[in-house]
């Protein structure tokens, strides 16, 4: 009895709880949940198919074995590198299996059949991605290593799409239909997000500095910006349509420049307004955290006001300011999606078209690139903040 108890506790100690949970979830998802959904055409209701039903016998067994292997290493190994390798292998394997399933289920030359990932497939990808991020977090990679990982992931994704792996998948069918406009919408999306954040930085940094220097103004300015932040995005787009529309009517030049009640102009203005608060607040907070003794010493040694700001205060406040930029950039990349509602363009165009046509794959064609873009921005700016804090403390 004592022997078996100690054996049990020994095993219990060796099992990684998070890994076990993710692993069991992955096995359940792989065995019981539909791996793909197969439709005769875009509008027809779909037939769920499990791994065994969707793939040739040998491939299916290999896929299930891979899931079991990843689950086992997640539950039993505490070495982050091994766990990371297993998770990456899992994601890669699922992606390959998905592409293969679409190929197998699509009769040659048939352009109507739709094969899209099922719940089980999504769940497997999410669980393995969680496992990968958990392992990465335990490895505590430096900023450069994280950017490297991001670049490798992007490269792998590009290679997968370029090789035609997913060409028979429903979402790529939607892409093929929209291929001519996809680049334009992507550019528009990035332009709106980066442009609004850039403009907000140009205005917000000086306003933040002003808030720091004149405490009496700080309360009023932050209150006003806070108020803007509480307006729902769709309402703000609507509110802006009125004055911008009036402007376009009153000033023909404005209309010629593309400023109008609908379209990118109100979207850009609204996104700019949303971005102001975090930038102004973080600039003010960041400057407020700079040691007063350092500023006093700098002035006392004969730095001019501009030199104190540019050489001492701003460099020391920079990590907090960049954190603010990260917040608004990620926020605005998401918000641009809503801008499509008023004709602002961007990936949101596909989301709203998809919603209108109850075509989930078209929604995904807009949503997935948006998430990827936001994720990329978050990783890059986090790494930048980290790099800044490593040199300046």
């Amino acid at each position: 009895m004592p022997l078996s108890t100690s054996l049990q506790s020994g095993i219990a100690r060796r099992v990684d709880r998070l890994g076990a949970l993710l692993g069991v979830g992955a096995i359940v998802a792989a065995v019981t949940l539909p791996f793909v959904v197969h439709k005769a055409n875009r509008i027809a209701s779909g037939t769920p198919r499990s791994v065994l039903e969707a793939l040739p016998r040998g491939t299916a067994v290999a896929a299930l074995a891979l899931v079991a292997g990843v689950a086992a290493s997640a539950a039993l190994s505490r070495r982050p590198r091994l766990r990371l390798a297993a998770a990456v292998a899992g994601v890669t394997g699922i992606a390959l299996a998905l592409g293969r399933a679409a190929d197998v289920l699509t009769p040659a030359g048939n352009r109507l059949t739709r094969v899209s990932p099922g719940v089980g497939c999504w769940l497997l990808l999410v669980l393995f991605a969680l496992l990968a991020t958990d392992a990465l977090a335990r490895l505590r990679p430096g900023p450069a290593a994280r950017v490297g990982c991001l670049a490798l992931t992007a490269l792998a994704a590009y290679a997968a799409f370029a090789s035609g792996l997913f060409d028979h998948l429903s979402i790529m069918r939607e892409y093929a239909v929209n291929a001519s406009g996809f680049g334009r919408e992507a550019r528009q999306h990035v332009l709106l997000a980066l442009g609004s954040v850039g403009a907000a930085a140009v205005i917000g940094l000086p306003v933040g500095i002003l808030c720091h220097r004149v405490p009496r103004l700080r309360g009023a300015i932050l209150q006003a910006l806070n108020l803007i932040q509480t307006i729902p995005s769709i309402a703000l787009f609507g509110i802006l349509m009125v004055p911008l529309g009036a402007l376009a009517t009153a000033v023909p030049l404005a209309a010629e420049l593309g400023i109008n009640g609908i379209g990118p102009a109100p979207a850009a203005v609204a996104l700019f307004l949303y971005a102001l608060l975090p930038i102004v607040a973080n600039t003010s907070v960041g400057l407020g955290r700079v040691s007063p003794a350092a500023v006093d010493a700098a002035r006392g040694m004969g730095l001019t006001g501009w030199q104190v700001l540019s050489q001492i205060e701003m460099p020391l406040a920079l990590p907090v300011i960049i954190t603010g930029l990260r917040i608004v950039l990620v926020q605005n990349i998401g918000l641009v999606t809503v801008a499509a509602l008023i004709g602002g363009g961007g990936f949101g165009t596909y989301v709203f078209q998809g919603v209108g046509q109850t075509a989930i794959d078209l929604v995904l064609l807009g949503a997935i690139p948006t998430v990827a873009l936001a994720f990329t921005a978050a990783v890059l700016l986090d790494a930048l903040v980290d790099a800044l804090q490593r040199t300046a403390r």
């Binding site: 040691s291 003794a293 350092a294 006093d296 010493a297 006392g300 004969g302 730095l303 040199t391 403390r393």
Partner: protein, 311 residues
């Protein structure tokens, strides 16, 4: 060297510094003491115009400080403050090089000056130049702060509670170092402190301030024996003023000819320390020894008692 003429500072209806005039001799250490809110820091900050005077003027080497842009004036005056104020994102060497860089010194000259100062402050350049302030101990940070203030060889050094953040043992060491460095460079030091012992230990002259006014500005001994105001005697403390007085004279200065039996004391020891040694050993006289080991005479208990008497 520094002439302060009827200097006042008002913030709205409040007068923080009220018509202070004083003359600070070149190459001396002047300690400005007072309780918090006495205006001592404001007075100091008006010398380098971090605070612009409301009235009155300051002359340094005969030149009115108001005739030049403030930041150019400040580059010629050393400035060290409590909590060192080092720039956390710059290395020790970069911190020390701040003013020389502003003045446009050549890189080689800056490098050699930084190395020289680190050596003077017992910080091995090879080890410390590239470190960041957060990697240093409190005492080392304070030394770098003073080294930075001295980097451009200023004739005047202003210090605002420079040792306030240090523990007593390190503070004593830092005060001795400052004395030594001040003598070595002949810098004129104006130092603000709320610590009377620090003022007496460092100050050639001590200025006592309260409520913006200068009550007394004199040699430390005069503050003890001839306080100009009840506040001065309260601040200097009445219970141990005899001992404070003794602490102002060294054994070397008080030594009289003759062979000493009893304990041997260094010439640099204060009479307060000699008295303590005599009380401890029960002897009536101590032998004074020069740094080179040669005898410098003796100090008797009776002589010490005579010096500690009022008047």
């Amino acid at each position: 060297m520094i002439e302060i003429e009827s200097l006042s500072k008002e913030y709205g209806p409040a007068t923080v510094v009220d018509g202070v005039s004083m003359s600070i001799a070149g190459g001396s250490i002047t300690a400005i003491v007072g309780t918090s809110g006495s205006g001592k820091s404001t007075l100091l900050r008006m010398i380098n115009r971090l605070v612009e005077p409301s009235r009155g003027r300051v002359l340094i080497e005969g030149r009115d400080t108001a005739t030049r842009p403030g930041h150019l004036l400040r580059r010629e005056i050393g400035y060290a403050i409590q909590g060192h104020g080092l720039f956390p994102h710059r290395t020790v060497a970069e911190n020390i090089a701040t003013v020389p860089r502003l003045l446009g010194w050549q890189a080689a000259r800056i490098r050699s000056r930084v190395a020289e100062l680190l050596g003077i402050f017992q910080l091995e350049p090879g080890e410390y130049a590239a470190k960041f302030p957060h990697q240093l101990s409190g005492g080392q940070q304070q030394r770098v702060g003073v080294a930075r203030a001295l980097a451009a060889e200023p004739r005047v050094l202003l210090m605002d509670e420079p040792f306030g953040a240090l523990d007593p043992i390190i503070r004593g060491q830092a005060q001795d170092d400052l004395r030594g460095i001040q003598r070595r460079f002949g810098t004129t030091v104006v130092l603000v402190t709320h610590d009377m012992d620090e003022a007496f230990r460092l100050g050639d002259r001590v200025a006592v301030m309260t409520q913006g006014r200068l009550l007394q500005y004199d040699r430390p001994a005069m503050l003890l024996t001839h306080p100009a105001d009840p506040f001065v005697s309260r601040l200097t403390g009445t219970s141990d003023r005899a001992l404070k007085l003794l602490s102002l004279t060294t054994a070397g200065d008080a030594a009289e000819p003759g062979a000493g039996e009893g304990p041997v004391v260094p010439a640099s020891a204060s009479l307060r320390d000699v008295l303590a040694a005599l009380l401890w050993s029960g002897a009536a006289a101590a032998a004074v020894q020069r740094p080179d080991g040669s005898p410098a005479g003796r100090v008797t208990l009776a002589a010490i008692l005579a010096r500690g008497r009022a008047g």
